[in-house]
Amino acid sequence: MSLTVPAVPHEPGRAPESAAEVVGRLEDTWRARPGLRGWLSSVDHKSIGKRYIITAFVFFLLGGIEAAVMRAQLARPENGLIGPDAYNQIFTMHGTTMMFLFAVPVMDAVGLYLVPLMIGGRNVAFPRLNAYGYWVYLFGGAFLYVMFFLNTGPDTGWFSYVPLAGPEFSPGKRVDVWAQTVTFTEISALVASVELIVTIFKTRAPGMTLNRMPLYVWSMLVQSFMVLFAMPWVASASMFLAMDRLVGTHFFNPAEGGDALLWQHLFWFFGHPEVYIIFVPALGFVSSIVATFTRRPVFGYPAMVLSMVATGFLAFGLWVHHMFVTGIPQLGASFFTAASMMIAIPSGVQIFCWIATIWSGRPRFAVPFLFVLGFVALFLIGGFTGVMIASVPFDTQVHDTFFIVAHFHYVLIGGAVFPLFGAFYYWFPKVTGRMLDERLGRWNFWLFFIGMNVTFFPMHELGLLGMPRRVYTYLPETGWGGLNLLASIGAVTIAVSVVVFLVNVARSLRVGEAAGANPWGADTLEWAATSPPRPYNFAFTPVVESREPMWQHPAELPAVEGLRTDVREVLVTTLLDAEPDSRHRHPEPTIWPLIAAIATAVLFITLIFTPWGAVIGTVLLFLAFVGWAWPRGKDHQEQLMIEAES
């Protein structure tokens, strides 16, 4: 059997004869199943992406409510709104929610929705795995909140340092809940990263060489590789912690030769790249938005790609800068200072490329673009304080103070949440078919921008004045009351801006202006699909001849035909040059990923209470995967092939 058959050139320029027929058959083959069972069985990257985004946004709101409660408590000295125990749980829940249940999942979620559309594909490479990843994430997040409402929420901070989090100082199940939630979310993030890497490597539209890939797709590729190398560290660390607590191992117990600092190394080897795992996709949003709203290709494409890749590598060389006060050798500290300053270089290169693009284009100041400008301003401030605390003497002074809180909120909100809101405004019409309202959008932006600065800028000063983070109250004599009140007023402003956003979404879903396929006149392939896209995305797989396919062929894209329409089939292309290479069968909707996720949840949750959980869970998981993998044998064409061969 010959394995290398090139695509057969067809009479060039011919319009598809039976386009309507092809569309009709695709509609039949790719149709979503009806009813609740159909909903639970979906393997469409768009349905799952939407659920992922909405779930992550719900966690964002919950994390935001926790932040608001903390700001209310700290608004004046010796406030009695909540006590120390509740405060410990709430700040831990806030950090854990925002990092593990919002920031990483939402970035993956948007990627899982957009990447297949942007590369001209029909779905992600492993659609059932994608569904499994979502359910595992949902169950992990729900588990954390159920336990929180049962007063068993974790209370040792989002990085859960030992020995505080060890069996001696944190008896009970609170820390176990944290450790298992982390395991849930790591699995879903790892699954998403494999998913995205293979989707990007193997299912790009013909002609979309790596050199023509949209910058956003590059950003998701870099992010996915970072997840692949970073997440196993925290998954292992949290498993070690759980074992120390459950079966009496001694990983972190100094009395028996274990080591508390091992935890910090394992955690931060994940924890620092984590920041960039959140930030790199945001760079992709910014590049997409800048190109569209200046109507210019982003300046310096190779420099942009290399900067993202460099950021991905350098992010793994910084973890010890979280540990400057643990008594590490001075030479080690100097190395990590240098590395921490070095990562400012690729970020700087990208900022200059965007400025050059905006400078040479004719910017349209629509809401997505405003959020990008907000990002540049806020991220610069966060970046400057980052370079400051990369220096050991300064870091020693402000370690564990509100200065650090101010720094990382500027980096994370400025660097990731602002671009994310820009992305919501930018791609909302693609996802829903309707535009978000510009006027409400401007209110959303300005309230957020002002509120953000009013909340977090005073925290720099509070940190320099010596206010430690994670204290539930402070004395009036400290003189911190005024700045804390100001920060709390800022938090109210942010809350109002988020409410404006929700109103805008609710209103626009009903009465928003109809969007059409390409409302912004953008350059990438997702805008060639209908808004919202059909289950098969594109009737024909587009062929790409440049980095800006939609600007090159705004009316009519070149495309290939010949994929089967009676079964779900996708085109697989080569890694570097995206030449058509094979046709690949695509799974039907199935309930098994959900069942496998339930088995996974049983495994992790029972493991908190008994080591037998491992046995029970493994048996269930095994049965679920047998159901998942067993072939249904619907495709007689394929079966006939093997009979002929054997």
Partner: protein, 202 residues
């Protein structure tokens, strides 16, 4: 909406591909990276915790026994021969040879699982005795988990090879399974050296 102008036809492309041409091969590589990282982290932790001890194993703890573990390591290396034959048979779509090879390999995997249970005994230390015992168990358990999952997967896959619902593209799965097997068995060799041999030299 943008229209389409047909410039090529892909009807003639194959539906079964092997190696790096197949998405599943890349997926397998992804999971090898993840699981390889997990094993690497266990190994790193082993050496990190070693620094907290004067003697390794600590005083009062016997060194691990070598017989079973050495047989296991040899078996793991040798099992690559039948698995490589499965891989090659799958690539030439030889269903009979794939069936025979997979039966042999699955039996070997079951033997490895039994040997693994004995290897825990051979460590001569409990997981909760001290950090040495903890981290030695961690390395062994991490690899044992992967071995158990691979054994279960081989069982299911071998059963599938005899199912009337078998499709040609499932043979590509045999080849991807072989890739994972090479990783699982060969990665054990350095881990074996760390857990069983290094206490004799460190």
């Amino acid at each position: 909406m943008t229209g389409f102008r047909i410039v090529a036809n892909v009807t003639e492309l194959p539906t079964t591909t092997f190696g790096h041409r197949s998405p599943m091969w890349w997926g397998t590589i992804g999971f090898i990276v993840i699981e390889g990282s997990t094993l690497f982290i266990c190994a790193i932790s082993y050496f990190y915790l070693r620094r907290n001890f004067l003697n390794w194993p600590p005083e009062g703890v016997f060194r691990p026994a070598l017989t079973v573990a050495t047989v296991q390591a040899a078996l793991m290396v040798l099992s690559n021969i039948p698995m490589a034959m499965v891989d090659r048979a799958a690539r030439r779509l030889d269903l009979r040879a794939v069936r025979v090879g997979m039966v042999v390999c699955t039996l070997l995997a079951l033997v490895m699982c039994v040997l693994r249970a004995l290897e825990f005994e051979a460590l001569n230390v409990r997981w909760d005795s001290n950090a040495y015992g903890t981290v030695a168990w961690a390395v062994l358990t991490a690899h044992a988990t992967l071995l158990l999952l691979e054994t279960l997967e081989s069982l299911v896959f071998t059963a599938l090879l005899f199912s009337p619902n078998l499709e040609q593209r499932d043979l590509a799965g045999a080849s991807d399974n072989a890739l994972y097997w090479y990783f699982l068995t060969l990665v054990w060799i350095p881990l074996y050296a760390i857990v069983f041999l290094s206490p004799y030299v460190m």
